[in-house]
């Protein structure tokens, strides 16, 4: 069943289609949640909340975009909302610009498994993690991140560079 007919069946209230829909996208989305939330429990909560939003708003999905991207956006927003409830999340950063250079282009890190990378992300400080996720993996622009998180664009940039330097450091140590 392709995405369009799956959505249509879900809209009709077909519970089997809803289950199929969930099974199809939940594993990827759980991976997304795990990158944003600090533990599995919180990630699973966000996943459930996110999918409830997805299903209740499915009518608004107009088939113009990619279904997975649309879901992913809702899931990310759900995670962000949850994180914003926790005030101490962001961002004790001085706003100066920092430039980090990557000295070597060796590809040792290419061999690192996705799971290892997941672990690295989860171990990052929360402020780094969110911005790194949004910019590097979800592909948001700094401007958009700034609006979403209520921070300045330059903060977003500098946090990203710090996060990247942090990760590079961790990877090189291995």
């Amino acid at each position: 069943m392709d995405d369009t007919s799956l959505v249509n069946e879900c809209l009709k209230g077909n519970s089997r289609a809803q289950k199929a829909f969930f099974d199809k996208f939940a594993p990827k989305m759980l991976s997304v949640c795990l990158r944003y939330m600090k533990n599995t429990e919180k990630a699973e909560d966000a996943l459930q909340d996110g999918f409830i939003k997805v299903f209740t708003n499915l009518l608004n999905f107009n088939n113009s975009g990619v279904l997975e991207g649309w879901i992913r956006r809702i899931i990310v927003n759900t995670c962000l909302d949850e994180l914003k409830k926790n005030k101490k999340l962001l961002l004790n950063v001085s706003v100066e610009e920092v430039e980090y250079k990557l000295e070597s282009n060796d590809f040792v890190q290419e061999q690192m498994m996705a799971d290892d990378l997941m672990k690295l992300i989860q171990d990052m400080p929360a402020g780094y993690r969110v911005i790194f996720n949004m910019f590097a993996i979800e592909g948001y622009a700094h401007q958009e991140i700034a609006i979403q998180l209520g921070i300045s664009e330059s903060t977003s940039k500098s946090q990203y560079l710090r996060a990247r330097a942090y990760l590079k450091n961790r990877i090189d140590k291995r």
Binding site: L30, E44, F51, I121, R164
Partner: protein
Amino acid sequence: MIEKDYIKELFQDKLTSHEVPVRADLWTSVSSSVGGSSVVASSMSIATKLMIAASVSAVALVTFYLINNENLEQSPIKKENLQEQRIITVDSLKIEKEEVKKEEKLLPKQAEQRVDCAYDFSTPENESDLNSEFQQSNKSDINKEIITEKGSQKIDQQNPIIRNNTASTSEIVAKPEIITKEQESTVLLPNIFTPNGDGKNDFLSIKIGEVTEFSVVILNQANKVIFTSNDPNFSWDGQSLQGELSPAGTYVYYISAKDLNGKLLTKYSNLTISY
């Protein structure tokens, strides 16, 4: 920055389509909020389920529950399959029930043996005690195998007769477990923890109901006591009594406790420490 962002590429490449298995029960709560009728995979009617439940004897149920319980905790997705398996196995379970009854008579003897071993072990000075220790760690090893070999359990359930006849060792191991479960169904002994400071499974602790007396003893492979406590809510960080960090490896630990009815419960488990 003109230079290519390798870190970004790496993470984007590896993680954009990364997937993590989702627990089956997560769907249940989403589905109930969404309003779709809950999904019933097996077409079995409730009446059939009831009949099946009634036709299985208490002993068979306990055995079944214990085995499946392990299964469920590890992979809740199996839940639906189990219902179907129940149909398949109900006939064979009846047969098993009779066999189990025969074997039940042997049970008290085995239980005594086991308890003796546990007691002897608290004074591990003489040689015979060492032997009993070996037996026990063997037993617990076998026990662990049974639990981890999910595949073989399925086979067991479908061919219980074969299991009764050929796998007599597994019967012996499994039975004492049942007896202790009946006394104190709330005790589950973890058999691994990772005291590496990552915030996950850094401490060994157990969940036990109300008890009046409690003791726990942890030994290393040289039968040296490396931790004891009388606190049911103890939490062990992996440091030995001498304050050294215990190396990764296999250990064994025993608990004994008296519940509110004054019933004595003793239980042991092997314990793997890894970092």
